[in-house]
């Protein structure tokens, strides 16, 4: 734990409120020997129960297939949709509310070739041949459920637990709970695969009612990784340094004469941190330090895998350097949303992520990082067994697939199930709240204990409704 020259802190609440980075609630609880959970209510309580859990993941890499990948064509094998291809949804199935409202559309089969992989014999379609080789590392959760039938609600819930805005993102909760291990980099980093905006924009990685220190920071893979990281044109380094030194010359005596005001010190420190970030961040994304072999592994040499491959490699580098939570978006701006011609659009997207994701798993494993890095794959929902327009599928939040690997997850496991058509989750349903609780569990955090008091309510990542699915750990 780095040791800074803190001025006396007026209260724990102030400390958390103004701290520029670093300490998570869990670490603080351990540090101070006293329980601590912060919040605008200022209440404190026991933190001992926070830790001491079997989970051993330290970092998370969340691979978001934004727009909703079809589980029926990737990881959830349903031969019945091929048998009923072209027929109407049998009357025994409750008709779902459909985002696009094509209520009488017929069932559409999947033209994929399915095979069982690894010792575990997990079913994976031919769209993920590389990932399939890691079948024995994957826990494939086939019974995910969300409340959002539209992208905005779905993406918002997958990120924050609520279809409604205003709550902190999962990455913010993890950063709040565990803090960052690298003072010079943000604890929560987001990288997209294109310039397009993710649905709902930056609030997906926002902090809602929590302090802004926990917000996700968008890294651009090209040029300057963080916005405003570089001095603007015409400001050479000497000039910038001169200005910063003069600023310190003004701020130091000002703060010294007001030693009781920890906010002044915190702001001075934030400038120092920013300065160090300027030094460290470009190196963190500098792939010239990687071997040609590694780059090939991630598919940087092929056009269709280059972008996501680069992002996966960046994710590994960031996690290695102590970034707690990395979120990679594939198909930013609902790219996976295939209302028409799913066959074509999914084929391209799957090809663009399959090899890079497999490489990420291979690479993490080779470096001994997989055990402590939880890799999560999925979108905000899946897709319907029914066809829509020309060969597409509509949104399906009532049953879809996500998978996890690493971070102590027992691989080679299929968890839960949808019905025979893959429309509704029927066994071991895991709502997004449960998924969030489970992710916390894998990180060694009891999600019912990680609390932030806001407007008199003890808030949790799971909106008080989730249950950790403990069978994820072997």
């Amino acid at each position: 734990m780095p040791c800074y020259n803190f001025s006396p802190i007026r209260s724990r609440r102030d400390f958390l409120r103004t701290a520029g980075g670093g300490f998570g609630a869990v670490a603080l609880a351990a540090l101070t020997g006293s329980p601590l959970i912060a919040g605008t209510g200022g209440a404190t309580r026991a933190g001992a129960a926070l830790t001491n859990r079997p989970g051993r993941a330290k970092n998370v890499i969340f691979l978001v297939m934004e727009g909703g990948p079809s589980h029926l064509d990737t990881f959830d094998h349903k031969p019945l949709i091929n048998e009923l291809d072209g027929q109407k949804l049998p009357a025994s199935f409750k008709p779902p509310i459909l985002a696009m409202g094509e209520s009488n559309a017929p069932i559409m089969g999947s033209p994929r070739q399915w095979t069982q992989h690894g010792q575990s014999g997990l079913w994976v379609s031919d769209w993920f041949p590389h990932v399939a080789r890691h079948a024995d590392d994957l826990a494939v959760i086939k019974s995910c459920v969300s409340d959002g039938i539209n992208h905005a609600g779905g993406v918002c819930q997958m990120n924050t637990g609520s279809v409604f805005g205003g709550r902190p993102s999962l990455g913010a909760w993890v950063d709040y709970g565990l803090g960052t291990e690298n003072q010079n980099l943000p604890g929560f980093v987001v990288i997209k695969d294109s310039e397009k905006e993710v649905v709902n924009g930056v609030r997906n990685w926002g902090t809602g009612f929590m302090p802004a220190v926990h917000q996700g920071v968008e890294f651009s893979a090209n040029g300057s990784p963080i916005r405003n990281l570089q001095a603007p044109k015409g400001l050479d380094e000497a000039r910038q340094r001169d200005k910063l030194e003069f600023l310190a010359q003004l701020n130091r005596p000002h703060a010294a004469a007001r030693a009781d005001d920890s906010e002044l010190e915190a702001r001075i420190r934030s400038y120092e941190l920013a300065y160090r970030m300027q030094a460290e961040a470009p190196g963190a994304v500098d792939l010239s330090r990687e071997t040609a072999e590694t780059k090939t592994l991630y598919g940087l040499d092929a056009k269709e895998t280059a972008v996501f491959g680069r992002n996966c490699l960046l994710a590994r580098r960031l996690v290695e350097q102590g970034v707690r939570f990395v979120q990679l978006y594939s198909g930013a701006g609902s790219g996976w949303d295939s209302h028409t011609e799913l066959e074509k659009s999914h084929a391209g997207l799957c090809r663009s992520v399959d090899k890079p994701i497999a490489a990420l798993l291979t690479d993490l494993k080779a470096r001994g990082l997989l055990d402590e890095t939880l890799v999560i794959w999925g979108g905000e929902f899946g897709r319907t067994p029914m066809a829509e327009q020309k060969g597409g599928r509509d949104h399906n939040p009532t049953g879809f697939t996500m998978w996890m690997a690493g971070g102590g997850v027992q691989g080679g496991k299929s968890i839960g199930a949808t019905d025979d058509l893959g429309l509704y989750a029927v066994k071991d349903r895991l709502h997004v709240h449960d998924l969030h609780a489970s992710i916390m569990y894998l990180l060694g955090i009891d999600h019912t204990q990680l609390i932030y008091h806001h407007q008199g309510r003890p808030e949790r990542i799971d909106v008080n409704e989730g249950k950790a699915f403990k069978r994820l750990i072997g």
Binding site: A152, A212, L250, H254, R269, Q455
Partner: protein, 1051 residues
Amino acid sequence: MKIFWFPLIFTVVGMSRLAAAEETRSGEIFFETEIRPLLARRCYECHGEKKSKSGLRLDSAARFAQGGDSGALIVAGAPEKSLLLQVIRRTDPDLQMPPDDPLPATEVARLEQWVAMGAPWPASVAPVAGLPVDEHGFTAEQRAFWTFQPLTHPTPPALAGKRWARGEIDQFIAAKHAERGLVPAPAANREEWVRRVFFDVHGLPPTRAQVTAFVEDQRPDADERLIDELLASPRYGERWGQHWLDLVRFADSDGYRADFLRPAAWQYRDWVIRSLNADLPYDRFVQAQLAGDEIAPNDPDVFVATSYLRNGIYEWNQRDVRGQANLIVDDITANVGEVFLGLSFACARCHDHKFDPILQKDYFALRAFFEGVLWRSDLPLATREERARSAEKLTAWETATAGIRGQIEELIGPERDRLVKRAHDRFTDDIQTMMDKPAAQRAPFEQVVATLAARQLEYEVDRYEPQKALKTPEAKARYATLLAELQLFEAIKPAPLPEAFVATDAGRESPPTKMKARRGGDREVAPGFLTVIAPEEPLITPLEHSSGRRTALANWITRPDNPLATRTIVNRVWQYHFGRGLAGSPNDLGKLGELPTHPELLDWLAQRFITLGGSLKKLHREILLSATYRQTARMAVPARAALIDPDNRFLWRFSPRRLDAEQVRDAMLAASGELNLTVGGPVQDAGVSTRRSIFTLRRRNSTNDLLRVLDAPAGFSSSAERQVTATPLQALLFMNGEWPLARARQLGSVVAGAADIWQAVLGRVPLADEKRVAEDFIARRTAAGRLGADEAAGAITSEHAVMAAGRFKENTARERLLVRGAPREGDDFTVEAIVHLESIDPGAAVRVIASRWNGERLSLDSHGWSLGVTGKKSAFKPSSLIVQLVGEDDNMNTAYEAVASGIVIAPGKTFHVVARVACAEGTVSFFVRDLDSAESGPLTTTVKHRLVGKLGAGAATPVIGGLYRRGPHQFDGRIDGVRVVPGLLDDQALAADPSRWSALGAMTWDARHALPAGYEWQAGVSGEETADPRIRAMTDLAHVLLNSNEFIHLH
């Protein structure tokens, strides 16, 4: 202290009573969240209401204390001596509990911790079996909680602070000082006080003249005069209106994915500001927002306030209409509870509140008042007379144009109706049934759902573009002719009445409110107030078209004797003045909030507020003129205060504060002299506008960067307290961001010396030391700048050349050319230009030739296009012609597309460039000719894109030489002419000489001619690159001061 502590020897040396109270509260919370559920789950089965094995019951504090047959269960504070721990640790083979499976280690640890804490067990909040409860299920302790008590009539402690106090407020404060041995801080000097009151009341720093005028005002009532003057200024409502907008989660957009703009939402914002400036009594302020439509349906200045009921977020294409209707009413309910009553009702949505006496039934009873709320788009902001007059004119116009309109309808109606029908059929059958019924036959709930669903059909009508949808050229031509004919009647057509963003009830009847009980299924709940203080049935008088429910609620909330509402508002006012409420959690005065430090003062203020007739201004005046408010913030913290009240809860000085986001932005503009004080009306993005922050666009999904890093709320839930964070991202934005730098450049270019900058930014003269280091800095920077300038001298272009016709240069007076009032070019158009670039961007930015785009990619507002040349680090071919488009894709989503030609436009040469953008075809075809090489033929290429239209739906004005929103996209060089023409021009119609362009452009500009009407040069952000090293040094100094802690913190 309402808590049951087990006997415990407890060292309290050095612990203030308040700290002890805090400790108590955390103990209570620990018990309620950890221990009680654990006991209930693991123990109650055998040791509870039904069974009490071994004579032991664990379901109440008293019974727990009693112990069972084996004696006392615990020794508080000593787990190792406690029987309870021996039993659950199973150390004694004869006595192990629970009998079957051991408790998990974490639960044992939790109980151990609880005993170590002294086993706090709060006086029962949730009714505990066996303890006496009243007919509503509340215990005596619950009822006794301070929040729910009637307002008392405290008398100011007469003897307190005799010499110090200026008014009754101070007497209360002084009494607490005396109790705690605290000494109030000396009064702030005039400079400190005047800066404080300006920021507090106006949200702006005082000007130099205002400071001088006040400091030199020798009149005995100078303070009173200043306060009266400040409160009478329109700037007051602009500052305090922001507090209210935070509470009611106001924004100018829908939230959710599309985040559509709410073009009429600003009228509510302006109403709030106007009402505060007019000192509208608080009860009327509240009533108008909750029930303005019922109270004064024909007074637009009252019913506009029902916009409050629409501040929540909305998703335009949500097919789960029931679900969305339910979310909307839940969101209103939660907000009303927090904002007007200071209670967190949302906790009671799923169960009785765990800490406060709020029943689940109370939540639904509050919700019932809003069950019938209907979002209306058919009510203009006009009086009945204005509406009648307009309707009369409209009838005349309709009669006169019936024939033409009939023909238009025949032409365009069928396709439009087909689109509407398609939207209709997307809903599930039950929703369609509701929509298909005549309104009169719908049940109230059906009316709510059908109205919400119908908005999606209205949207189809709004976005239907006949000219595009018509298939044949003949039909298009005919449509144009008919429109032209219709245009002839424009003179007799009434001007449209102002659009309103308001709500009413669905009708006289409201839909039933169903409480979702965890046991026993749903149950219908009638409107009702909070049972614990007002169990009576509300008196509701239905109106002809409205349930009258909201009026009944508003009347109850604003009853002078409603302790919750009155305490809540006066506590907020106190909080905004002092940085912290007398009760520390202003949106939650319940048990999980903080106890008030000065309960008597809070009640006194509430009574005073009632006496003052609910006048906020009069309340402000008393607070602002108090000795408490006058204390300095600048003092070394006395040892005793540091020990017993380091957080300054008892106000032994004025608490230092960081400025709010809006205060910072406004103060920066004020410092640079750019602040535009135009009042009200529609708004612009905060990155472009120089108006006060409250008059800038609040987009939920894309809050302005500067405001966001300074913790401005995004508008999803009520925000009663601003966070104060200092993050590295904030520092990076302040140091490197374009916006603060632009303010510094402006300020640096108009000042004479360091002292001016100190005055402008910090409102004071520099101290001798500061002056010296500042002058050193200026000298150093000037010298360094001169060195750099000499080196760069060759590159500096002469003023004459910069101003030459058609010359565009960053950071000069002719940076970009705005084209106002140009007709829209549609989705198929041609852009043609003659350009001569002097440089391309060294980074990845595009040098823009022409655009109709604000540079964003997310919302409908950002729809548009640009034509330009890529930068050196572009992912596309550097220095090549590129078109960027934002429009709708075939999923009807807003999408961005970069369409690269791959054709190089080299700097230093003149080119004739053409881009034909076609959405119908999904292509852009490029045509480029190098005019400096006579022989070279044109290069052409056609590139596909996936946008289908709506390029023209955006909000940006066309711009030549840049984008509408300034960024790194300025053109650098000469543009001899530009035209934008609807339709796709064929090669014969192109010309490399603007004088040969036939005038059919949506915009046509020839650099050699005088500026046409509507064209306006935009200057860059002043003199950074004017090569004057002294101005550059001044800019640096100004920038440093704008980054300084003294500027951001009032301390």
